[in-house]
Symmetry: C2
Subunit: 257 residues, 2 copies
Amino acid sequence: MARGAKNEKTPVTAAVLLIGDELLSGRTRDQNLVHIADLMTRMGIDVREARIVPDIEEEIAAALNALRARYTYVFTTGGIGPTHDDITADAVARAFGVKIGVNKEALALLRERYGERDINAARMRMARMPEGATLVHNEVSAAPGFRIANVIVMAGVPAIMQAMLDAVAPELEGGVPMLSRSVRTNALEGDLGTPLGAIQKEFAHEINIGSYPFYEQGNFGTNIVVRGRDDALLDKAEAAVKALARKLEAEREKGKP
Amino acid sequence: MARGAKNEKTPVTAAVLLIGDELLSGRTRDQNLVHIADLMTRMGIDVREARIVPDIEEEIAAALNALRARYTYVFTTGGIGPTHDDITADAVARAFGVKIGVNKEALALLRERYGERDINAARMRMARMPEGATLVHNEVSAAPGFRIANVIVMAGVPAIMQAMLDAVAPELEGGVPMLSRSVRTNALEGDLGTPLGAIQKEFAHEINIGSYPFYEQGNFGTNIVVRGRDDALLDKAEAAVKALARKLEAEREKGKP
């Protein structure tokens, strides 16, 4: 998006596929997207889309194929445990049209962690992976995630997912980091609208200005977020937004009875 | 899914489309999906998919067209305010291939709320809606959402979104409510896996058993959620799961040094 000489390279993009009935029933609030998006943003990788699908093999495979064709990386979370509803590995194999089998390295890790007494058929399921997958380790549970081509398959439990993301991050190609500045104001979106649109126009393409109204304890206000990859330009845009916010705040103050 | 005589009717389904750059940058954690999913579940409407897309008109329109063709209802959140990045109404018009114009009823509401002093071009943008849309009212902000065919377009601010959802809910056709029971245990997923899979098999199609590991303060455990539309069958499945959990807990206790 940014056009500065040093930002000329193709943007690195990502999508996130969150897998699990519990995320769609209202039972569980996802915690993984924000964590992944936050790290990706710092690495200069733009998260462009996320999808949430139930534990249905065809649905997972279809969503994965749509996303992996379009984005540099796809991160999936959920469905790689030892129970009957853990079908992500099968769905990934299906999406790639490859066989699924026991990954020996993964099995060795599971045997080491559980020992001969506790290793069983259910736990050994966690070593089943699509052919061609490489392991994504984590220290929390020992059961690894995996990577195949541009798809990184991780656990749904946040602590385990985070460990896996940390393990795989050094392998990813980052981009020019997206920087952001926030301006919080009690000016109202309806008053900001036209002049803020003019500022956006002035900095078109290089800077992206988002306006997020909030409503707290009966009061409305706005968070304005200025994002871009060029620090100096960001300074200018932030200054313009701040000046606008302060002006409207003063007018609002004056207008009070 | 349930096959009992009284549940024979076609399931009522829904998808949720969350719109906004801030949800993909890691800046904002969505609060709307859980709220929508929770109400839909109680109304017997199955939320089958959710997508999160940025503030890009073509992306919103493409996702909306994919979802509205597939599910009974589609709920969107975000992008209906007065600033330049609020483009949901345009995207919906584009998706439906209809014109967008000023909805007179919406404009009257805005004029009434803001009065001649504060109504301006930016605020009047909130009256722009696709042709054929009907209003979805809310008491919090006055600016209405809208409905067109099976698509319900709501604000992103949670308090406003919730008011809009409450306003539109009585118009929706509900289904047989999905009921659920939760069993929490310190038994491990790896030990539950095989026998839990057998219970799922026994109740196949009528009951859906989900297994959700947790990791809290260094301890692993499992939440098992049993879902279905037939209360008596749910009792049976829950009893089977509880018996399994208690058995494994006792074995785990015995196995401790």
